[in-house]
């Protein structure tokens, strides 16, 4: 069982729980207390009234919830991808899934609509197609994923998707402006309707990951062992791809691609809580939420009064981690 639970966290459990709770509480307050109006601040959160109430309930709360849900979705997508590929560098951005979703959305806008389908459908289809193509390139559906081919496949799929998205810049101005929204991670103008769209995917995605947690644990033992223990790795790979694509696709639809969140959150969770995916699924979700809440607060304050897109802030937080991990990780291949 110890093997199935994976390595324990490097930090005592109590401290990890305190850190996580504090991060979420501080992140939430930070995100709610900051915004366009300088006269609506921390004190108003506890005594909302009049204008402050409108600002908090109509503008800031949906955005705060959206930031948290984005963190949940991206963290989970990253965890699932890292589990099914057994590659610590896997994430929706690196495997081309974010870019695939952006391409799907772009095609949904550019192509004449014969059937009126919701944008989520295009994002999900794009994300799923990108994921499947990347895994096919890496040899995943044959039962053995090659790490190098996985990352290179992801880069190729991502580059191709983005090239197609950028091509639409040359089309009509209105189309170009709509498409630009899906190339930079930004939640400046989020309202409750968009937050609900994120929640609709986050809840089933979370539950599906929870159900599959034991399968992820078996994958960690190696594909041959997983098969021997009755969990066909190809099925885990397929189901995991669908879950990750749905989570990443929904996030791109609402906020555009946010890189690095999906990469670093699972690593932080593993550092704090160990390698058991039954623990990692909920803790990654919560840590993702905490990270994006802090990123949201920073995006509103770093360059105030002008907001920095949350995607840029997430990248500024995540890029150093990615670099450190790439240089020092021993188990990349």
């Amino acid at each position: 069982m110890t093997a199935l639970r994976g390595q324990p966290g490097s930090v005592p459990l109590k401290i990890s729980i305190v850190c996580l709770t504090l991060a979420i509480a501080c992140g939430t307050l930070f995100s709610l207390a900051t915004g366009g109006r300088t006269d609506v601040g921390l004190a108003d959160i506890f005594r909302p009234d009049g204008l402050a109430r409108t600002v908090l309930f109509d503008i800031r709360m949906p955005r705060t919830c959206a930031a948290a849900l984005l963190g949940v979705n991206l963290g989970m997508a990253g965890l699932v991808l890292q589990a099914i590929t057994r590659n610590p560098l896997a994430s929706p951005a690196i495997l081309g899934i974010n870019q695939g979703a952006a391409l799907g959305l772009t095609l949904g806008v550019v192509l004449p609509n014969t059937i009126d389908l919701p944008l989520d459908f295009y994002a999900l289809t794009g994300a799923l197609t990108a994921g499947v193509v990347t895994f096919a390139i890496s040899g995943g559906f044959g039962g053995k994923i090659d790490s190098l081919r996985l990352v290179l496949g992801g880069v190729a799929v991502g580059a191709f998707s983005y090239a197609m998205v950028r091509f639409t810049y040359t089309l009509d101005d209105d189309i170009a402006r709509s498409v630009i929204r899906w190339t930079v991670g930004d939640i400046t103008d989020i309202r409750w309707s968009e937050t609900k769209r994120l929640a609709v995917w986050a809840v089933p995605g979370f539950l599906a990951s929870l159900v599959m947690a034991q399968r992820f644990n078996l994958m960690a033992l190696g594909q041959a062992s997983a098969r021997g223990l009755g969990a066909d790795p190809r099925i885990t790979l397929l189901l995991g791809t669908v879950v990750a694509a749905a989570l990443a696709g929904a996030s791109v639809t609402v906020a555009g691609p946010i890189a690095f969140a999906g990469l670093i959150v699972p690593h932080l969770a593993k550092f704090l809580f160990g390698g058991d995916h039954r623990v990692l699924v909920p803790t990654t979700a919560l840590l993702g939420a905490a990270l994006m809440l802090v990123a949201d607060g920073l995006s509103k304050t770093l360059t105030a009064p002008i907001e920095a897109p949350i995607g840029v802030v997430a990248a500024l937080m995540g890029a150093p981690w990615f670099l450190w991990h790439t240089i020092f990780a021993r188990d990349v291949s």
Binding site: G36, L51, T54, R60, T188, D189, I306
Partner: protein, 303 residues
Amino acid sequence: MKRNIFAVFGLCAALATTPLSAGEITHEAGTTDVPDNVKRIVVLEFSFIDALASVGVAPVGIADDNKRDRVIPAYTDIIGDEWVSVGTRKTPSLEVIASLAPDLIIADKTRHSAAYDTLSEIAPTIVLDSLGGDYHDSVAQMAVIGEAIGKKDEMDARIAQHKATMDAYVTQITPLSEGLSAQFGVTNATGLWLHAPVSYNGSLLEMFGFGSAMKPAEGDVYEKVYVPTTLEQLSEVNPDILIFGAYANPSQVDSWKGETLFEDLTAVKSEKVYNVTAHNWSRLRGMLAAEKTAADIVEIMKK
């Protein structure tokens, strides 16, 4: 005596054939020696067309964003439509500019300072702060351009006439604007950019007696002059009169309609939200442009 007459004749002939320096023109990037009688002028901002049109001069090249209709009929009536497009104002094509063999290039401080050396290799270049400057700067730039193209007197006369026209507008508008704040902003499908009091439009509104609640900011042009603004930030500025120029339909501002914070804005409650032609207000600057804006404000105040 005969020899003297030949000497004077010879000097006149020499003066007629060799381009003489119109003198040193001081501008944002330094001082440039501009020859007399410049004929082939390339302009990289719309406000420089305004200046040339004011004295009936047609440029050979315009950075018209590859959209010829961005040069409005009020200008084409004077300058015709023979110009060559040299690309976008943001990234004009140096190759096309060079191919026009200009003898004067008028460039913008914000957009083209980085290319000043290259532009100067093509032709004498003067750099003026069109994008980042206010209305008063833009009139001062008209005088610099008048001097550079050797039409100082004509330009001074046009400026004097323009100032008289604007004074009349000020007399007409200020009694109506007393105690009111007004704010102009452009909106496209993804955002709203308010033009701060230090901007061209902001300074015009100020000249007509309107107040502004925008806080002054530091930074580059897009931080202190054309400020990206969220609904929450707009609710803090909360002017008595809101003037929008929309580049998209529906615009970002349209998407805010129905939201409590937007509907609670003073201007929205008192139905003092007005739409103007975004292109004329936002992209055009200069004397003719200012007179058009003033006429729009008179119309707004009549409503």
